[in-house]
Symmetry: C2
Subunit: 505 residues, 2 copies
C-alpha cells in the first residue's frame, strides 16, 4: 500500500497490437485496470515506461473494450517497442512522468526571451530521448520559426543537433560534400560530382535521401545502378577504398533530432530559415564534412522563388557555417525547369551515365551544372585555384576517369547494374506548331508518379520540350514509361483531363 | 479505375476498438488494406471520413496486425465515433484531406504579421470543426501566446470564440456573473454570491467547473447539496423560477473552441494573458452575461503572484470587455492562504451553509469575501450606488433571505441534501508552541486528495491554523476526514514523510 506514495511501481505485461504511430510513442492501457484507476491515468497522460535499464516516455490511449487488452496488459505502438527493445510477453513498469525541465526554455522563448547554448542543448537532448510529445515538438518548432531565431540561436541549435547523435570521423583532414536546397526534378548532379571529386583523390562520403513526394530521390536513382543501403562499417570501407560513395542517408544516427523535427515541420508546412540551416549543416558536420558546396536553385516552382530570398538565406547560412568551423559556399543556380531528360529513377540514371560516358547526346544542362558545382567544390577545398575548378573538373570528366571512378564506387557498394527502359511506352506529341512557353513541373512530376515512379524504378518519363524550344505539330514532347498496363492507363486518363502541362504558344 | 484520379471514394466498414484519445480524432487502418496501399496513406496522414451528410477529419494510425481489424474495416477512436454519430458495422468513405486554408493565417502570424478579424474567425471555425490536429493546435497556441497578441487580436479571438458555439439569451436585459482567475483552496464564494444576488431579483445563471487537479471544484462542492448536471432546458427553468443557479458548465455548447484549446494549453503548461481573457470572456458572453465581476487573488501559490501582474491583466481584460460590450470589473483580492475552514466538497459545503445560516462560528474570511464581491456586483449592475453594495449584500445575508433563496435554488435544481462528515477522522496536533509562519497550500491540497477528495465527497480536511495564529503544543492544526480506512492509512503514511506542511516558528 505504500507504493502509491513513494515511486509507484506498476507492473504490466506487454502486448503487441501492431499499431504504427510513426515516431510518437503511444501506450494502450485498459480504463478499468488497477493501474489506470489507482494512478488516475487518463487519455493523453504522459507516462514513463521502464524496461530493464531502459525507459521511454509515451502518451496513453485508454482502451474501453476487453477485446484488445487484458487488465494486466499494456499495448505499445511499434516505435515504442523498438525504442525499448522489448518483446511482447515481457513485463514493464509504468510510472508518473517527472516534469520535463527543458520545456521552461521553450516557454521562455515564447515569452520573448532568447535561449542560450545550454538551454538549446537541453531541449535537443530531451527531444532525442523522446521526452517531447508531438504537441511539445510543434510548440518548439513554432516558437523558433520564421524570423524568431537570431544568428546566435541558429548556431546553438546547429551545435546541439550535431551533439545529439553520432559524429563520424574520416582519416584525412579534408572531407567534401554538396547539398541541394529545395527539389528540382531530374537534378541528379550528385553521382557525377562524387565521381569527379573522388577521382582527384578527395574524400566525398555522400549520403542522399529517397523521394518523399517527388518521382525520385538521389538514393532511388543511385539504387538502380548499385546498392545504397549500406551499414556504417560498409560505407567506411567504400570510402577507404574509393574516396567517394553515394548511399542512402537514413542508416546512420546522424543528427537524430532533425529526423524527429522534420516530420512536425512537414505537418505544419512551415519553412523556417533557421531550422533549415541547422538541419542541413548539422547533418554535414555529423557526417564529418569539412568543405561543403550548397546548390541553391531559384525559380517559380522550387523552394526559393527569388534571388533576394536566396541571397538572404545564403548570407545567414555562411555565417552559421563559419561559426561552427565549416568551410561553405552557396552557389545560386537556375531552378526554372527540370535538369536533364529523364524523370524517374532509371531514366535519371541513364542521364547520369550518358554524361559520365561523354555520349554526344548527353543532356548538356546536367553536365554543365555538375561541372560548375564540382569546380566550385575543388576551389573551396583548395585543390584548384580560383577560376580554375571548372576546367579541372571538365578534364577529369572528358578523360573518362570520372566514369571509371563511378564504376569502381558502384562495385565497392555491391556491384554495378545497367538501367533499362520499362516495358510500356507511350509518346505524347505536340498538337500544334509553336514555342514552349510554360512547363508545369508539379503536374509533370505527377505524370511520372502515376506511371509508377519511384517504386517501379524504370517508370517515369523522358522530356524533350524545354522552355523556349520551337516545336512542330506531331513532334514528341515527352515519352511515358511504365512497368504495368494499368499504370499506363491511369496516366493516360489523367492526361485526358489535364490540358496545361506544357503550354505551347 | 478512374476513382483514384477524381475524388477517391474508399468504402470501409466501421469497427469499434474502444480507444479513447480525448478530443483528437484517430482512425485505424490496416497497412495491407487496398485503401492504404492505393492511396499511399501512412501513419499520421490526415484524412476526411464521410458518413451520410457528415464528415470529420482524423489522423491515421496504421495497423500491422490482423487481430485488430479486417482489411475492409476502419477503426475509430471514441471521440471520432461520437463526432460522426456513427455506429460499428456502418459504412463510411475515406478521402484525401483538402488543404486547411486557415493554417495560412497561423503561418503568417508565425512570420510576424498580425491576423485580422476574418482570419481569426476562419481559424476558430476550423478548430471547432476538428480540422486542426493536435500539432496544428499547439502551433496556433504557441504563435498567439505570451505577448504575441495585441489588444485587437485578443478582441478578434474573443469574438470568434463567442461565434463558434451556442449563445444563450435570457429574458431581461441584465444578467450578472462572477469568475475567479486562478484557484485558491476553499474559495467557495459562488453559491453565497448567487444566493444574495438572485434574492434581490437579478439574474445570475452560474456555470462552474469540477476539480481538475484540486481537491474540489465549485461544481463538486455544490453537488453535495444539490444536483448540478442539468440540461440547458432545465437550467432555463431554474433561472425562470429562481433567477439564479449553480450548475456544472460542461453541458452547454458554449465557446466550444475553448474546450479544445484548453487541453493543449495544459499540455504545454502555457499561461497566456490573451488566451486567458478570450477564454473567460467568451464563455461569459456566450452564456448571456452582461455584467461580470472578476475575482483576481494574488499570492505566492496562486496564478497571479504580484500586484503588478494582476494590474496588467486587469487593464487588458477591461479593454477587451469594453470592446465586446460587456460591463466588467476586476477585484484584486488576497490569495496568500485558503479561504474558509473546509477543503474537500462536503467540508466546503459546510462552510457555505454556516455563512448562509449566519452561524456564529462561520468562517469570517469566506463571509467577508463573498459580501465584498456581491457588493461590487450590485454596484456594477447599477442596483446599488457606488459604496453601498456591501451594505445591501450584508443585509440580505443577515436577514436570512439569501439562505432561503439558496434552498429554493437547490430545490429547483432537484432537491437539497445536508452535507455530512466522513466516517474516519484523525486530528493532527501541533508538536510545539509558536506562531504559524508558512502554509504549503500545494501539500495541504495533496493531503485532502489522498484522503479521497473530490471523488469521495465527504473526504478532505478542516483547517484551523491560519498564518499568524498563535498555537500551543497539542492544539489541533487540522482534522483529516476519509470514507475508507485505506485512504486514511495512505494519508498518514504521506504525513509521516512530509514535515513542512505547516511551519510553526
Amino acid at each position: 500500500m505504500t507504493s502509491r506514495l513513494k515511486t509507484p511501481v506498476n507492473t504490466l505485461k506487454l502486448k503487441r497490437l501492431g499499431i504504427d504511430t510513426q515516431k510518437e510513442h503511444v501506450a494502450y492501457l485498459r480504463a478499468d485496470s488497477h493501474v489506470a484507476m489507482s494512478e488516475g491515468f487518463e487519455a493523453l497522460t504522459r507516462v514513463r515506461i521502464n524496461y530493464k535499464s531502459r525507459s521511454i516516455v509515451a502518451s496513453l490511449h485508454i482502451v474501453h473494450s476487453d477485446s484488445l487488452l487484458n487488465k494486466g496488459e499494456l499495448g505499445l505502438s511499434e516505435m515504442a517497442f523498438n525504442s525499448l527493445s522489448a518483446k511482447a510477453g515481457e513485463y514493464i513498469s509504468l510510472t508518473h512522468l517527472e516534469p520535463i525541465q527543458s520545456l521552461s526554455f521553450v516557454r521562455s522563448k515564447i515569452y520573448g526571451n532568447r535561449v542560450n547554448a545550454q538551454g538549446m542543448n537541453e531541449i535537443i537532448k530531451d527531444i532525442v530521448k523522446g521526452n517531447y510529445s508531438n504537441i511539445h515538438l510543434s510548440s518548439f518548432i513554432t516558437a523558433f520559426a520564421g524570423e524568431n531565431m537570431n544568428t546566435d540561436e541558429i548556431i546553438f541549435l546547429t551545435k546541439s543537433m550535431i551533439a545529439s547523435g553520432a559524429n563520424i570521423k574520416w582519416q584525412g583532414k579534408l572531407v567534401v560534400d554538396k547539398h541541394c536546397i529545395g527539389g528540382l526534378p531530374g537534378n541528379r548532379t550528385t553521382p557525377i560530382i562524387v565521381s569527379i571529386i573522388s577521382s582527384l583523390g578527395l574524400i566525398m562520403p555522400k549520403t542522399s535521401s529517397r523521394a518523399i513526394t517527388s518521382p525520385a530521390g538521389t538514393a532511388d536513382t543511385m539504387e538502380v545502378m548499385a546498392p545504397v543501403t549500406l551499414s556504417q562499417k560498409k560505407i567506411e570501407s567504400v570510402i577507404n577504398k574509393e574516396g567517394g560513395c553515394v548511399v542512402w542517408g537514413n542508416t546512420a544516427n546522424l543528427s537524430p533530432a532533425d529526423d524527429i523535427l522534420i516530420r512536425i515541420e512537414r505537418a505544419l508546412d512551415l519553412d523556417s530559415e533557421g531550422q533549415l540551416i541547422a538541419s542541413v549543416l548539422s547533418k554535414k558536420v555529423a557526417a564529418g564534412s569539412t568543405h561543403v558546396i550548397i546548390d541553391m536553385p531559384v525559380g517559380d516552382t522550387v523552394k526559393l522563388r527569388s534571388i533576394e530570398a536566396a541571397n538572404h538565406l545564403k548570407i545567414l547560412m555562411e555565417k552559421v557555417a563559419h561559426a561552427i568551423g565549416l568551410k561553405l559556399k552557396v552557389v545560386v543556380t537556375d531552378g526554372s525547369q527540370p535538369v536533364g531528360i529523364g524523370i524517374g529513377p532509371s531514366l535519371e540514371a541513364m542521364d547520369i551515365l550518358a554524361v559520365l560516358r561523354n555520349e554526344p547526346d548527353a543532356p548538356s544542362d546536367l553536365r554543365d551544372k555538375s561541372l560548375l558545382l564540382a569546380g566550385e567544390l575543388l576551389e573551396l577545398a583548395g585543390y584548384a585555384e580560383n577560376g580554375k575548378g571548372n576546367e579541372i573538373a571538365t578534364k577529369v570528366l572528358q578523360s573518362g576517369k570520372a566514369y571509371k571512378k563511378f564504376l569502381a564506387i558502384c562495385k565497392a557498394q555491391g556491384g554495378f547494374t545497367e538501367p533499362h527502359f520499362a516495358k510500356y511506352k507511350r509518346e505524347i506529341k505536340a498538337n500544334k506548331n509553336g514555342t514552349v512557353a510554360v512547363i508545369n513541373n508539379r503536374k509533370l512530376s505527377r505524370v511520372a508518379k502515376l506511371a509508377g515512379a519511384p517504386d517501379h524504378t524504370s517508370a517515369g518519363l523522358r522530356f524533350f520540350a524545354h522552355v523556349g524550344n520551337k516545336i512542330k505539330k506531331g513532334e514528341i514532347l515527352y515519352t511515358i514509361y511504365s512497368e504495368t498496363e494499368g499504370e499506363m492507363d491511369y496516366t493516360m486518363q489523367y492526361l485526358a483531363s489535364e490540358k496545361d502541362i506544357i503550354t505551347i504558344k
